[in-house]
């Protein structure tokens, strides 16, 4: 008798067979594939880079357009007034080679900063002067609500007076005496000179109404990517590159700016930014040797040696970042639990950061020990206040009135010891809202869930596409406050500017304090980092870090690298990769 399977019924099975066959084929291909080494087959004056297509060209960031590729793109065309390096060699972390101005001169008890511009020119030969800074100032002050970097009370609200002294010098007087390092690193980093002569020929931006009009024109042009490479507005640049070709959602070609006057002139003539539909597509092309700079997806880290054998250098890109598991202190049910330091400590002691970093993240993550990142590249966890110690965690729970039931349900036995708001018989059950799409994250929470289960703490893992969106900062009375724990750190939870202070993260009511952590002592220490009198702020920063490392406003988690970069070994100048996630293509050259 003949079998009569229909096409509809067979299709899924065929698809699965196809998937397995494809997988098998790919696995079998591990012995070959890449076609070139050390730039072979690539023009010696060009580098092809895997990068999503930027979609914002105006160097004043707009809400919804703050993705990393946009920052990299605009920096190549319109560098910020100050660039930074974190190696500790320069005052205020200012990178003198890339910056367009000298380090500020501070007077008036720290309240006035005088800044002198270097002798630079726009690509059309016009000198870069304080008119371009004034123009930027006029635009952002008149359009604060449309500027992604604006926060109420922050820059430019905290500037009492902006004064242009002459063509080369301007000064800013702040409303309070801020710590200079904090102000230079976290406030002045927003200033980007923009070409007044090219963008505002009639000087309309001198008035607020005119500034709004000019800004609207620039924003409209920036929202029209298909004209990026033809609109005259974007032809006048201050950076080492100019835009040669732009294909919306496709390749972007940057060409060397021959008239660039900065110290860091581009060495390559052309940089091609090539987008991919996903990690797999990118990695297939990388393996085939068709791009000069790409990245290894976290799941394929074991392919490092293969890529190296094909002439690539694999280099982890460490970020100036921390990763954490947010706790919702305002959750009416579990908030009282999180408010107990001993409980936070017990849970932290069940997170085996070094082993997770090694076994699950394949050494592409490093333990987070506190709010201030370790020096980029540090993988040492010996400095962490709380180490992996399940026995100590159990002892902590038992000594605070909990009946620990391994692989069961630990419950509060003595409410007086458990803490205020905790009732007899209350279990330790939490839901973790995590991210979909990251295999390593899924495995990491499988491990943490397993460790917690050994002490009777139940974690229910719920993966969603955007965990930040569904775990907002909330009040206990709000219906959106039912979340317990939130994780959004598969590529790092938080990337700092040069000065890693916590006023946006852990201060009471801070905009990114999603868990509503509040501790007066922490607030004082955070304030101290902003207003400390020591010029580099390091003493205040250390005090703040040491306190929060122990007070656990969040649970510290392994901090993954931004990405595992892979570039042709003949390509020089890629390393060290900027921890603040900029890419300086001008340093790149072929051996």
């Amino acid at each position: 008798m003949r079998s009569r399977l229909t096409g509809r019924q067979l299709r899924p099975a065929v698809a699965l067979i196809g998937a397995i066959t494809l997988g098998a084929s790919l696995a079998a291909c591990s012995g070959g594939g890449a076609s070139s080494k050390d730039g072979e087959g690539t023009s010696k004056d060009t580098a092809t880079v895997a990068l999503r297509t930027p979609n914002w060209i105006l160097p004043i960031s707009a809400p919804g357009f703050t993705q990393g590729e946009n920052a990299i793109f605009t920096q190549a065309l319109y560098p910020s007034l100050y660039s930074y390096k974190l190696d500790g060699t320069e005052k205020y972390n200012i990178d003198p080679r890339r910056s367009l101005a000298e380090a500020p001169v501070v007077t008036d008890g720290g309240k006035t900063l005088a800044i002198t511009l270097k002798d630079n020119k726009w690509s059309d030969g016009t000198p870069l002067t304080t008119k371009d800074i004034q123009f930027w100032w006029n635009l952002v002050t008149a359009n604060k609500d449309k500027w992604a970097s604006y926060r109420e009370g922050g820059f430019p609200d905290n500037i009492a007076k902006f004064t242009v002294t002459d063509d080369k010098t301007f000064s800013m007087t702040t409303t309070k005496a801020y710590n200079t390092a904090w102000f230079v690193d976290n406030q002045l980093n927003r200033i980007t000179p923009v070409p007044q002569a090219a963008w505002d020929k009639d000087n309309e931006a001198a008035t607020p109404a005119g500034a709004k009009k000019v800004f609207a024109t620039l924003t409209a042009a920036a929202k029209d990517p298909k004209t990026y490479d033809s609109n005259p507005l974007w032809k006048v640049n201050s950076g080492p590159f100019k835009l040669a070709k732009y294909v919306p959602n496709g390749e972007v070609t940057l060409a060397k700016q021959e008239t660039y006057t900065g110290a860091d002139k581009a060495k390559l003539n052309t940089i091609v930014l090539r987008p991919f539909t996903g990690d797999d597509a990118e990695f297939n092309v990388l393996r085939a040797g068709q791009i000069d700079y790409g990245y290894i997806p976290a799941a394929d880290t074991s392919q490092k040696s293969y890529l190296q054998s094909k002439g690539y250098t694999v280099s982890p890109w460490y970020g100036w970042s921390i990763t954490y598991l947010q706790l919702n202190f305002n959750n009416p049910k579990t908030g009282p639990l999180f408010k107990q330091l001993y409980l936070r400590q017990a849970m932290q002691e069940l997170v085996d950061q070094p082993t997770i970093s090694k076994a699950i993240w394949n050494d592409t993550a490093a333990p987070t020990c506190g709010p201030v990142p370790e020096k980029p590249g540090t993988t040492d966890a010996t400095g962490c206040a709380y180490k992996f110690d399940p026995a100590a965690a159990q002892q902590l729970l038992e000594s605070h009135g909990w009946k620990v039931t391994p692989d069961g349900q630990t419950t509060c036995q003595t409410p007086a010891q458990c803490g205020p708001g905790i009732t007899a018989g209350q279990p330790l059950t939490f839901t973790v809202t995590s991210q979909t799409g990251f295999a390593a994250t899924t495995k990491m929470f499988a491990e943490i869930k397993s460790q917690m289960a050994k002490l009777g703490i139940t974690l229910n893992i719920k993966e969603v596409p955007d965990s930040v969106a569904v775990t907002p900062a909330c009040k206990p009375t709000e219906s959106s406050c039912s979340w317990d724990m939130s994780f959004f750190g598969s590529q790092g939870s938080w990337y700092y500017p040069a000065f890693a202070s916590g006023e946006r993260l852990f201060a009471t009511g801070a905009p990114v304090n999603l868990g509503s952590y509040s501790n007066p002592q922490a607030d004082q220490l955070i304030d101290a980092t902003q207003f400390a009198s020591d010029s580099d702020g390091s003493t205040a920063l250390t005090a703040y870090n040491d306190f929060l490392a122990k007070d656990l406003p969040v649970l510290w988690m392994p901090n993954p690298v931004y990405q595992n970069s892979a570039y042709r070994s003949g390509l020089q100048g890629v390393d060290p990769q900027d921890p603040m996630n900029f890419m300086y293509f001008q340093d790149w050259s072929w051996k």
């Binding site: 099975a13 699965l16 397995i20 591990s30 393996r287 085996d352 295999a439 899924t442």
Partner: protein, 292 residues
Amino acid sequence: MTVSSQEKDPVRSLWRQGLGVFAENRLALVGVGIFVLLAGLCFLGPLFYHTDQVHTDLTKVHLAPGAGHPLGTDGVGYDQLGRLMLGGQTSIIVGLAAGILATAVGTIWGAIAGFAGGWVDSAMMRVVDAMMSIPALFLFMLLAAIVTPSVSMLIIIIGAFAWLGPARLVRGEALTLRSREYVQAMRAMGGTGGRAVRRHIVPNAIGTVIVNATFQVADAILYVAYLSFLGLGVPPPAANWGGMLSDGLEATYSGYWWLLYPPGIAIILIVLAFNFIGDGLRDAFEVRLRRR
């Protein structure tokens, strides 16, 4: 003149004849064999092969098949053979339950619509048409993102949308059956519509329903695999074959073949098994219907 056994007990004879036809279909028997083997492996295997599928062990990550771990270990140190058994339980339970749920709902819906006819039929089938116009996988993903996936939730989600096919199929059968003489006769004698559906429409469409049910089970198993593949399956330490296959594919370049092939082959085998069984059942019921 002797009375044949067939004439003595015609119903029993029809079932026997159907069984005989089913048994003649070798692929159908292979299907049954595969299903029994896989179900035995998943549900009885853990009684003899003990593994810890709750606690991770990061010291035993990605061990290749060998002594102690015949199919190696996965990315968090779970024994892969034990995981295959655990995952199979989820896949089979969800597949069977969702398939049965979809078949039951679809059969009742389709039988009522087809028998009632008129505006009732129009209204009920427009609901089916409307739901069918929405891509099922999209809906599954949306629902799975809203609710926390669990075995029971997966059954409800998949069953809630998989019933549309059986509903259409049974409605077509009901349209034919309602004009049959025995139905007309029952109605003429005062039988209610409910009785007609219960005693005549559904029992006489049972062949179609059962055949379709096997395909529903196969489809449901695949839907579980799809959802897990998209990261919307049951969370760890629970497992299912689709999720395991997804993990295995991510490790393709790493050479961890034991994470890829076992769940992939298991999914193919069980889906094929149900297809073979359904094919055999169709032949068997066709014989019975011919005979009638």
